[in-house]
């Protein structure tokens, strides 16, 4: 028996990393939000790695923060170890990664949601989405409660019709044994959403006292810790735990090989498509049989627990086999499993069904975010959640929606990849996915996005003014460095030679010295008389802007070209088979994706430069016809 409940502007289905960002953003933009979760105790849960950030993912967190999202602040508040990865590989690929306290992170996010005005949290299973004339009108819970809403964000993670596999056993369940919603998929299919099934997995959690840490390599955090959030004070941040490294060996591999027949992956029981980048240990051993050992990281799950996470050992082998192969590893001879590793299959949507606003093409007001959209990872989820939340709010207010292009951010790249290329397995962000990665650095996320965040309404005036001040300081110092000439001196030449670069005989501009790959801004402190002491972030930006000047200018040129084509809009209802001159393959791909601009069309694989020329000419003719 259905019954009417309160009306809301927007419902968010799922309170994981995507759902939380979506709900917070939309509520902060003044919309009345109902955030639905199967269990209040799993809000912003980390059912896999207790870690935030990593290569390209760290960039995403910084970007979420620069736009006014929550993840960066939460990670800064709850981290227990922090490291900047890829130091020494170039600033574009520096990536921040932290171990987070899993329970504390959940508590932090739950509390932020609870304290946010206009945001109501509801423990309920959403069973049906209601729509009329192609627009969202509400939803129905499993208990029969009807909520009228104007927009919905779907952020169901890995829960939708979740099926956990451990060896020969399998059972319906979401991650961490939370109930799996079984009804919603049919309703989504009925609305025309192309649903599919993906698979992912997680390793075992083991007890601290069963690990012999003396036999393991220790990995400590950075001494000089950088926070994720541009708002977090760098002072007072410190590491509280260490992580450890262990290795599999021939014996481990033998045990796994001998038991492969008991893995649901190899018996054909699992239908879902698994991620290529997150292979289970059995996958690694079969596909890379020549590797004598595989590395694993042993990471604490939090300060108030003795659970440890075994990164690199995701598996769907039976529990007894898991125990057996783990105990072959040096340092884990007596290991005790607290939660076994498992594989999980779940329903998600083919992201090509969405526009870059993350709104479904077939239902107005229906948005998708996170693993529901075929991605993997908390950071990817948070990034999409933020955009879906902003755009759901904008759709309710009848404002123009926000689309970030590829040149603006990893967030834009992620979403463009999803809606343009789709994904054949869970999508993970990587620096190699961005053609503009020299500009999309984690250190300048605020420069790229804070203005947008302010305009959207998620960045406070105070923070925006601080940001402008920072920009000004950077510009002033940059100007000064460009004008400053450094005279040759014995001491300076000694330094230059010691780094393997040539000494100077006449005065040289400071910026030209900094441009030398072996030299850094800080090196010239004693030679640069007019220098004032500046905050770290300012010095960093000045140095990078000088060092990569040429590359940045070049990438900016490419960006300009791309943005010109981005402005050439293609109608969404265009039937490409009607355009004379396109090749068959291009017609098929274009009709599937229905790109919104010529630039987007050009990124579809199988669409050639000649096809793009045809589209340009067609557009030219069309525009002339209309005018």
């Amino acid at each position: 028996m259905n019954y009417e409940m309160e009306n809301y502007d927007i419902a968010v289905v799922g309170a994981g990393h995507a759902g939380v960002e979506a709900a917070l953003a939309a509520a902060r933009l003044g919309c009345k939000i109902a955030l639905f979760t199967i269990s209040l105790d799993t809000i912003a849960n980390m059912p896999c790695n207790p870690s935030i950030g990593g290569t390209a993912k760290g960039h995403l967190v910084r970007e979420v923060d620069a736009l006014g999202g929550e993840m960066g602040r939460a990670a800064d508040a709850c981290f227990i170890q922090s490291r900047m990865l890829n130091a020494g590989k170039g600033p574009a690929v520096h990536s921040l990664r932290v171990q987070a306290d899993r329970v504390k992170y959940h508590t932090y996010m739950k509390s932020v949601c609870e304290k946010t005005p206009l945001l109501d949290i509801k423990q309920a299973e959403v069973a049906e989405i209601l729509a009329e004339d192609g627009s969202v009108t509400g939803l129905v819970t499993k208990l029969g409660a009807v909520y009228k809403v104007k927009a919905i964000v779907l952020a169901t993670g890995t829960y939708l019709r979740g099926l956990i596999h451990i060896g020969e056993s399998s059972y319906q369940s979401g991650a961490d044994n939370v109930v799996a919603p079984m009804l919603l998929t049919d309703s989504l299919k009925a609305l025309g959403l192309p649903m599919r099934r993906f698979k992912t997995g997680t390793p075992a959690r083991v007890h601290k006292r069963s690990i012999n840490f003396d036999l393991l390599e220790k990995q400590d955090g950075d001494e000089d810790i950088q926070p994720f959030s541009f708002e977090t004070d760098r002072e007072g941040l410190h590491n509280q735990v260490s992580c450890y490294i262990a290795y599999t060996n021939e014996e481990t591999h033998r045990v796994i090989r001998e038991n492969l027949h008991r893995s649901p992956l190899y018996s054909g029981k699992i239908e879902g498509v698994g991620p290529r980048y997150c292979p289970s240990i059995e996958d690694k051993i079969v596909r890379f049989s020549e590797k004598p050992r595989h590395q694993l990281f042993i990471e604490p799950m939090g300060l108030d627990t003795d659970e440890y996470y075994l990164q690199g050992m995701s598996s769907s082998l039976p529990e007894d086999v898991q125990l057996k192969f783990l105990r072959t590893i040096k340092g884990l001879e007596n290991v005790e499993i607290m939660r076994p590793a498992y594989a999980i299959e779940y329903d998600c949507v083919d992201p090509v069904a969405m526009r870059a606003t993350l709104e479904m093409k077939c239902v107005k007001g229906l948005f998708g975010a996170g693993q529901f959209n075929g991605t993997s990872g908390y950071e990817e989820a948070a990034a999409q959640g933020l955009i879906a939340g902003i755009n759901a709010a904008k759709s309710v207010k009848n404002e123009e929606m926000l689309v970030l292009d590829r040149a603006s951010s990893y967030i834009g790249t992620l979403i463009d990849d999803l809606v343009t290329k789709g994904c054949s397995d869970p999508y993970r962000m990587m620096t190699s996915r961005s053609e503009y990665r020299l500009i999309l650095r984690q250190d300048n996320a605020d420069e790229r996005l804070t203005k947008i965040g302010y305009k959207v309404g998620l960045i406070s005036k105070e923070r925006y003014e601080d940001f402008l001040k920072k920009e000004e300081m950077i510009a002033t110092e940059l100007q000064r460095v460009k004008k400053t000439t450094i005279r040759p001196s014995e001491k300076l030449n000694e330094l230059l030679v010691s780094r393997g670069t040539s000494p100077i005989t006449t005065g040289v501009r400071l910026c030209d010295l900094i441009r030398r790959p072996q030299m850094f801004y800080a090196d010239f402190a004693t030679f640069d008389e007019g220098r004032e002491e500046l905050p770290y972030e300012i010095k960093e930006q000045v140095e990078l802007k000088i060092k990569y000047d040429g590359y940045i200018a070049k990438q900016n040129e490419q960006i300009e070209q791309m943005r010109k084509l981005e402005k050439k809009e293609l109608p969404e209802d265009l039937d490409y088979s009607k355009i004379r001159g396109l090749r068959l393959e291009a017609i098929e791909k274009l009709n599937r994706v229905k790109p919104l601009s010529v630039a987007q069309a050009g990124r579809i694989s199988g669409v050639s430069p000649a096809d793009i020329s045809v589209l340009l000419v067609w557009l030219g003719g069309k525009n002339r016809n209309e005018s």
Partner: protein, 453 residues
């Protein structure tokens, strides 16, 4: 829009050839390659004016000619345009074009000038439709050409280089995106050696294209016939010198011999195929197989039959294979007694041409027929050329990027900057297949590295 250049006159022997440069920097490019006698420079010349002078490449004079300047919007394309008229002949024109390209112009796509003219409001809608036809034909032809060239050395080389570049980028990507896996860094020395060898390979390819006697354009023409009907003799006659080994032993021509020849006023790319016959000789049977394949790719087939012998089963099977294709039946060895059943040939392939490749009798008739057959149809003579132009342009773009990457590497620039330049090189090479760099690299990472949690 970028600045593009192309040879605007037909690629054949002629009195003069015109190289057109169009785009924002057209006049700057012209200044780099054209030194006028009067000292006028293109960037300061008014629209609709000309100057006489020398055309230069790398400090050397290639030719003398006339530069005409058109100022936007009063030009064919609506952009700034420089047109350089030089002496005719494909070779000189190609050199001038190369000079323009190395001075900052990009090679124009087929139909590019017309496309620009249209986009800048210079053409009507009806005219625009013909542009689309040109573009799509060239796109389709390029794809077809790339496909049919798949067994060719050029294609193999390009795809080999592409693979190596993807390999390097994949390795760098895995190393950067998976810092926690035990993936070794590429040694700078190995990296620079590999890039240098890729550079050398591409640059050699690019050069062979430039110095090629005449670019291999024109109608792709296959000469077919059973063994010893006189295919090679005909080819040699058309070429004017001995290229194929001519003997009386069946199966002498074991491979496809390719040459370009001006037959009458038509440029042909002739392939003398091995005789199509059953054979136990391994080498020869490969030749036979290629001959059959060649038929499917040719624009024109010259099917030769021996007048002095009755049609054999093999002749009949050739007639069957070429029927429905653009074929001219040739009855050779007319100097001997006729024993052939002409009607059987005529019924399927139309009226034959009678010649004696030995004496040259009937060759004029053949020339006439060839130009008839080719001009009767809408064959795009430049199609084969465009495929080559495209490949050349891709190679040159890749070279340009590599040229930037190598010094960056040697002065110790960080690898994040380097990979961005290498992406550009790869992007140029992948242009033909329509593949995208980020996809190719990401796929490479996952197929070759054991990465992930």
């Amino acid at each position: 829009m970028s600045t593009v250049a192309a040879i605007s006159t037909p690629l054949a022997q002629g009195g003069i050839a015109v190289i057109r440069i169009s785009g924002e920097n057209a006049l700057t490019v012209a200044d780099k390659i054209f030194k006028s006698v009067s000292g006028k420079v293109a960037t300061e010349m008014k629209g609709y004016t000309s100057a006489y002078g020398k055309i230069m490449s790398d400090g050397e004079e290639i030719d003398d000619g006339v530069l005409s300047v058109f100022r936007a919007p009063k030009s064919y394309t609506g952009e700034d345009v420089a047109e350089i008229s030089c002496h005719g002949g494909v070779f000189v024109a190609k050199k001038v074009l190369s000079a323009a390209v190395s001075s900052g112009a990009e090679l124009a796509e087929a139909g590019e000038f017309t496309k620009r003219a249209f986009l800048n409001g210079k053409l009507t809608l009806t005219e625009a439709e013909s542009v689309i036809d040109i573009i799509s034909a060239s796109g389709e032809q390029a794809r077809k050409a790339a496909h049919s060239a798949k067994e060719g050395a050029l294609y193999k080389k390009i795809s080999g280089v592409t693979k190596r570049l993807v390999g390097i980028l994949g390795e760098l990507a895995a190393w950067v995106d998976y810092p926690e896996e035990d993936i070794d860094a590429l040694e700078p020395q190995v990296l620079s050696d590999t890039l240098s060898s890729i550079y050398d390979e591409l640059s050699a390819l690019s050069k062979t294209y430039d110095s090629g006697r005449i670019i291999r354009n024109g109608a792709d023409t296959a000469i077919v016939g059973r063994a010893n009907v006189g295919k090679s003799t005909l080819m040699n006659y058309l070429l004017g010198y001995e290229r194929s080994i001519v003997t009386d032993i069946e199966g002498t021509t074991r491979d496809i011999v390719e040459e370009t020849a001006l037959v009458g006023d038509t440029l042909l790319r002739l392939s003398d195929t091995a005789g199509i016959r059953q054979t136990d000789d391994v080498v020869e049977s490969i030749g036979v197989e290629r001959s059959i394949k060649k038929l499917d790719e040719a624009d024109l087939i010259l099917a030769i039959f021996d007048s002095s012998e009755p049609l054999t089963d093999e002749d009949l099977s050739i007639i069957e294979k070429v029927s429905g294709k653009r074929t001219i039946a040739i009855i050779n060895k007319c100097e001997k007694d006729r024993k052939i059943d002409i009607e059987k040939v005529e019924n399927v392939l139309g009226e034959p041409v009678f010649i004696s490749a030995k004496t040259g009798e009937g060759i004029k008739d053949l020339e006439r027929r060839i130009s008839e057959v080719l001009s009767l149809t809408t064959l795009d003579l430049s199609a084969g050329l465009i495929a080559n132009e495209r490949q050349k342009r891709c190679i040159d773009k890749a070279l340009l990027s590599l040229n930037e990457a190598l010094p960056a590497l040697s002065i110790g620039e960080t690898l994040d900057a380097l990979t961005v330049i290498l992406d550009e090189a790869l992007s140029a090479l992948l242009e033909l297949s329509g593949e995208k760099v980020t996809d190719a690299v990401v796929d490479e990472v996952f197929s070759h590295f054991c990465v992930g949690k």
